[in-house]
């Protein structure tokens, strides 16, 4: 019994760390052959020296701050516009083709334009992130609100549930699975745009720093920056999953009950 439990825990540890360990080993084997592919130990050392320093405050935290600010702004915009559009068939018919067009524009091409309009500082970078994140949130919110159950809508009407309560307890809750799907897409787009926005005419930030290392042939440091980005992405997505599990617990429960 006890051995069985321990065995199961062992299997989980292997599952969780098995592949990463293999990848690092593989990396080790191929590293060293090229100047551009330093071995893991050198990258780990560079990681410590580079990122456990003032850079945390000068580059890393400002980058993450801009990402979160842009993401939050995109959420407010996307949900705030998506709800009325989703609720009104006429608004939807008018706006949907236009929205699809804007969504189809790759946000990085907006960087030069936004630089002209908003300069090269923080506002521009946040705007770039917003301009990319807002579309999946908006379109998913529209879709989620449009597909709200009509029996529930009738129930609200019959029992006098209206106004802010209706919005909070019915519309947003009912659309939340779709809204969360949009937020998840937006998160990965946001991380990409955070880096890209810092590669243009910038003097700080994660993206800028990685490009700088590359230009100065500080290859191990460059790799450590890429590693850091991966870790930030992973952390944010784990955080997201944690929040999602809480917000949508009813949804997963109902899904399991139906299956």
């Amino acid at each position: 019994m006890k051995a069985g439990v321990r065995g199961k825990a062992g299997v989980r540890v292997v599952r969780l760390f098995g592949l990463p360990v293999l990848l690092v080993l593989g990396w080790w084997l191929v590293s060293g052959r090229s100047f551009y592919l330093p071995d893991p130990v050198r990258v780990a050392r560079a990681f410590g020296q580079t990122w456990f320093s003032a850079r945390v405050f000068d580059d890393v935290l400002p980058s993450i701050g801009r990402l979160l600010a842009g993401y939050a702004l995109a959420t407010v915009l996307g949900v705030g516009l998506g709800v009325p559009i989703g609720l009104s068939p006429r608004l939807r018919a008018t706006l949907e083709p236009v929205l699809e067009f804007f969504r189809a524009i790759p946000p990085p091409v907006l960087v030069p334009l936004l630089m002209l309009l908003a300069g090269i500082d923080t506002p521009m970078k946040v705007l770039v992130i917003v301009s990319g994140c807002v579309w999946p949130i908006l379109l998913n919110t529209v879709e989620g609100v449009r597909a709200l159950d009509e029996v529930l809508a009738d129930t609200c009407r019959m029992y006098g549930v209206h106004g802010a309560t209706r919005l909070r307890r019915f519309v947003l809750r009912g659309a939340s699975p779709q809204i969360m799907a949009g937020l998840r897409q937006a998160l990965s787009i946001g991380i990409i745009l955070m880096v890209i926005s810092e590669m243009f005419a910038s003097s700080s930030g994660l993206g800028f720093t990685i490009v700088l290392f590359q230009r100065q042939f500080q290859i191990a440091e460059m790799w450590s920056g890429i590693l850091l980005l991966g870790l930030i992405g992973l952390t944010l997505s784990l955080l997201f999953r944690f929040v999602e599990r809480r917000v949508l617990s009813w949804y997963y429960g109902a899904g399991a009950a139906r299956a």
């Binding site: 159950d149 006098g160 307890r169």
Partner: protein, 256 residues
């Protein structure tokens, strides 16, 4: 309490129009329990949604307590045919029952009392903190009923509420409705496709024709007020009444 005068409903869509109800005129007195029975597709749901003010009518008028219906009347509750879908899956049973009361601004102590009493009356006290999807179909149906009861309506509309539950649950729920009706003095319009159920529950049974829908018969059910699944259903008069309705429907079918 309910006056339906020359009600007509045609669903218009760009390429076709469906005449769901040709013309219906009847009324339901305060405190009455009236069953509407008709084949599926004859417009029972359409009738109910028109009375509830959820559907614009094509002609005629509906009045509730003398007031013409233009939207959902304030003291009316509905138990929908798709009862499972009418419960908020993100709320517990208790929250589902409580939400309409909050919107009605019922003070908290009274609200809690109503929730407790209504859940007790449908036998769901223990399920108060469960989510609807954790319950069986019959239990979900009882949550929908509890929510309607807690709302303290003057008029309760029910759309084929027991069509999708098993026979035993169905019998229990029928008796539950009778008990609630007697205790609350509420006016009930109960829609069903089951003639036996209509005769067992109703003080009156309104028989609808198949589409184009009109009233085929408005029959007073002169069975003893105290009903019981076993004795009432085996009364000779019960058999006569249901036989009468079957015959009417049969003759209408042959006449076409």
């Amino acid at each position: 309490m309910l006056e339906i005068a020359e009600l007509r409903k045609v669903y218009e869509s760009p390429n076709r129009s469906v005449e769901a109800i040709r013309s219906l005129t009847f009324s339901v007195g305060a405190g009455e329990l009236v069953c509407v029975v008709g084949p599926s597709g004859c417009g029972k749901t359409t009738l109910l949604r028109s009375i509830a003010g959820l559907l614009p009518v094509s002609g005629g008028q509906v009045r509730v307590a003398g007031v013409p219906v233009t939207g959902p009347p304030p003291r009316m509750a509905v138990v929908f045919q798709e009862y499972g879908r009418s419960l908020f899956p993100w709320m517990t049973v208790r929250q589902n029952v409580e939400l309409p009361l909050k919107e009605k601004r019922v003070p908290r102590p009274r609200r809690l009392e109503l929730v407790r009493e209504s859940l007790e009356s449908v036998g769901l006290t223990d399920a108060a903190d469960a989510h609807p999807w954790q319950l069986s179909g019959g239990m979900q149906q009882r949550v929908a009923i509890a929510r309607a009861v807690a709302y303290e309506p003057q008029v309760l509309l029910m759309d084929e509420p027991f069509a999708a539950v098993d026979a035993q649950t169905r019998a229990d729920l029928e008796d539950l409705i009778l008990a609630l009706w007697r205790d609350l003095g509420v006016t009930i319009l109960f829609v069903t496709h089951d003639i036996d159920e209509a005769v067992y529950l109703g003080q009156r049974v309104i028989v609808l024709s198949s589409s184009p829908t009109v009233i085929m018969e408005d029959l007073k059910i002169d069975l003893p007020a105290q009903r019981d699944q076993l004795t009432t259903r085996s009364l000779p008069r019960f058999g006569e009444l249901r036989g009468h309705i079957y015959e009417r429907i049969q003759r209408a079918r042959e006449a076409r």
